[in-house]
C-alpha cells in the first residue's frame, strides 16, 4: 500500500514535467526515424575511393575509372591538391594516385591507417578493378570474380538497418535512463535537501527506492511500446520473438542499470560530481561491450573480464529475441550475469544511499 502510493506519486509528479516526459518518449522515436530513413537503402553505405586525376589522362586511366564504377565503388575524382587537403583532414580511407604524369607509369594506393576496415575492403576492390581494366584494354577475357553479398550477421529474418537499430535503441535508452537520469535526479534532490524531509519520516528507504524503480520500469515499457509501434508502422519491423521474453529481458536490464544509477548516486555529493562518476562507468561499459568494435585482438585477461560485464550479454539477448526470435535458453548465463550485477548494485545502493 505504501509502495503503491509512492509509485503513484512518482508518476503524478513525473507527468507534470511535460518537457522531460515529452523528450523521454520522443527522443528514441526521432532517432529511429532519423537513422532508419538515412540508411533505408538496403545496400548500406558504399565504399568510396578518392581518385587523383592524372595530369594527362590516358586510355588506361579511362578503363580503370570505368572498372572502379562497375565494381560498385563510389569514385571521388579530385585534383592532386584537393585530394591532399582531404587526405590531411583524415576523411579519406583510400586514395588512388598515378605515378608520374599519367596512368602509363603505374599507380599507388594510399590507405588510411585509422580507417583500416573500410580501406582494406576498398583496396581489394581497387585491385580487382585494376585487373579488369587491364584485361579490357588488352582484349583479354575479364578475370572471374567470386560474387560478394553484404548481410547483417545472425539476423536472418531482419531486412533493414532500422530493425538492427531498434533493439539497440531500446537497450541504450534504458542504460542511459538508469545511469544518467535516475542517478542524477537522486543526487540533485539530495543536494537541494529534498530527501531530508523524507528522512525524518518513518518511510523505509527501500520502499522509496523500489517505488522509483517501478515507476521507471513502467516508463521504459511505455517507451518500448511506442518505439515498437513506430518501428512497425514506419519500417514494418516486427518483434520476431515472444513479447514476454522481451519484457523479461527489458525488466532485468532496467533493474540492473537503475541499480547502477542508485549505487553511483551514493558516491557523489553534487550533480557535477555525479556526471563525472557516471561517465567513468558508462564509457568503459560502452566501449568494452562490443557495441563499437570487437575485442578479438585485446589481451586475454581483458577479454575474460569483459565477458562478465552486464551490457553486452544484455544487448545480445535483446537482439537475439527481437531480431532472431530466439528463446532465452541460449542466454541463461548472460542473463545470470545481468541479474548478478543488478543484485550487487542494488545491495550497494541500499547500503550507500543517504537521505542527506
Amino acid at each position: 500500500m505504501m509502495l503503491w502510493r509512492q509509485f503513484a506519486s512518482e508518476w503524478r509528479l513525473y507527468s507534470r514535467d511535460r518537457v522531460a516526459m515529452f523528450w523521454t518518449f520522443a527522443f528514441p522515436v526521432l532517432l529511429l526515424l532519423g537513422f532508419g530513413t538515412i540508411f533505408k537503402d538496403d545496400s548500406g553505405p558504399k565504399l568510396a575511393v578518392v581518385r587523383v586525376q592524372s595530369p594527362v589522362p590516358t586510355a588506361i586511366d579511362g578503363a580503370l575509372d570505368k572498372a572502379l564504377t562497375d565494381l560498385q565503388l563510389k569514385v571521388l575524382t579530385l585534383s592532386k591538391s584537393e585530394a591532399e587537403t582531404r587526405w590531411s583532414k583524415g576523411e579519406t580511407a583510400a586514395q588512388l594516385e598515378p605515378l608520374g604524369s599519367g596512368g602509363g607509369e603505374g599507380y599507388r594506393l594510399r590507405l588510411n591507417s585509422y580507417l583500416m576496415a573500410q580501406a582494406g575492403a576498398t583496396a581489394g576492390l581497387v585491385n580487382q578493378a585494376w585487373l579488369v581494366a587491364q584485361a579490357r584494354l588488352n582484349g583479354a577475357p575479364e578475370p572471374n570474380r567470386i560474387p560478394v553479398q553484404v548481410e547483417s550477421p545472425g539476423h536472418k529474418r531482419s531486412t533493414n538497418y532500422a530493425s538492427f537499430l531498434l533493439p539497440g535503441l531500446l537497450g541504450l535508452n534504458l542504460v542511459s535512463m538508469g545511469l544518467f537520469s535516475v542517478g542524477m535526479v537522486n543526487v540533485s534532490y539530495r543536494e537541494k535537501g529534498k530527501f531530508r524531509r523524507l528522512a525524518v519520516t518513518p518511510l523505509p528507504k527501500w520502499i522509496f527506492l523500489l517505488g522509483q524503480v517501478l515507476h521507471r520500469l513502467t516508463v521504459t515499457v511505455i517507451q518500448a511500446a511506442i518505439l515498437l509501434l513506430v518501428g512497425r508502422l514506419a519500417f514494418g519491423i516486427q518483434n520476431q520473438g515472444s513479447f514476454l521474453n522481451l519484457l523479461f529481458i527489458m525488466t532485468l536490464g532496467t533493474g540492473c542499470f537503475m541499480a547502477f544509477g542508485f549505487a553511483l548516486s551514493g558516491f557523489a555529493e553534487t550533480s557535477e560530481g555525479y556526471a563525472a562518476i557516471s561517465n567513468l562507468v558508462f564509457f568503459p561499459l560502452m566501449f568494452l561491450s562490443g557495441v563499437y568494435f570487437t575485442l578479438d585482438s585485446a589481451p586475454a585477461w581483458l577479454q575474460h573480464t569483459v565477458a562478465f560485464l552486464p551490457l553486452s550479454p544484455f544487448l545480445r539477448a535483446l537482439r537475439a529475441v527481437f531480431n532472431d526470435g530466439a528463446g532465452l535458453t541460449g542466454h541463461g548465463f548472460g542473463l545470470l550475469i545481468v541479474v548478478g550485477w543488478a543484485l550487487a548494485a542494488f545491495a550497494l545502493a541500499v547500503r550507500r544511499f543517504r537521505w542527506a
Binding site: S9, R12, G193, K194, R197, T201
Partner: protein, 306 residues
Amino acid sequence: MSTPALCIRGLRKAFPKVLAVDGVDLEVARGEVFGLLGPNGAGKTTTLEIIEGLTTADAGEIEILGLTWGRQGQEIRSRIGVQLQSTSLFNKITPREALDLYGSYYPRRRNTQELLELVQLVEKADAYHITLSGGQMQRLALALALVNDPELVFLDEPTTGLDPQARRSLWDVVRRMKGEGRTVVLTTHYMDEAEALCDRLAIMDRGQVIATGTPASLIAELAIPSVVELTFEGTAPDPAPFAGRLGQPVERRADLWEIPTPDPKALLPRLLEAAEGAAIPFQQVHIRRATLEDVFLHRTGRSLRE
C-alpha cells in the same frame, strides 16, 4: 507521562572545522514549549538535527519520549513532527498532495483538510509548491510537521524571513499546538519570539548552553530590570568619558547608548544633568524593561544579532 519528552546529556558534535555542539544537556517536560535561543552559528540547528536523527552525534545520550535512536528509530520517527530550517519539497506537488503523501508514511495521521484550515492554506491547497510565497511554504512545512498527530514537535527557525503578520499567524499555530497538549521544541534568534512563545528557554552560544530557565526568571536573574536608552542621530559617540562622569557603565550600540539600572527613577535626574553638563547631543530618552537580548548581552558580551 512521567518520562520527560526529551532528555539530553553531554551532547557533542565536531565538524572538520568547527566544534558545533560542545557538551549540551537539556531536559524538556511534556506539554511545554521549549526554546533554543542564540545567534546564528550557536549550534541550535545541529543540536536539533542530532535529536531528529538527521546527524549522528560524536558523543552524548538522547532520550526522546523515553525512546532511543539505536533500536527504536522507527517509533521515534512516527511519534515526532519535524519542521526543517528549509523544507524543500518537489516543485510540482500541491499542499494537499504533500499532506496526503507524507501522511501516508505514518501509522496515525491527521485529516488533510483540517491541517490546511489550521495553517490557512485552503485557498492554496491545489497550487504547485513552487508558486507559494515564503510564508505559505513555512505554513505548509508546519502542517507537514503535524501530519502524524505528533506528541513532540521540532521547529527550526519557524519564522525566519517572514513578515510581521506572517510571524504572528505562525505564533498562533504554535500556541494551538501547546493547547492540544503537544510538546514543542523550537529554535529562534528572535528574543521577542522566545519571550512570546516559550515556557522555558535554553540560551546557546558557541555550542554550549549558557543559561536555562523561564524568560521571566532569566531576566530577573540579571538584577537589572530596566535599561535607559539615549538615542542619537547617526552613530552614537564613544561613551567612555561620559560613563566616567556618570559613575556607571554605559554601552554603545549603533545609534544609542544603553545604561542598565535597577532603579531608573533615581538614575534619570542624574543622567540628564550629566548629559547637559557634558553637552551630549542626544535626541531622545527611553526607559524600557530588560529583555532576553540584555540577558544574552550580559552573559556573552555580544549582541544576539551580531
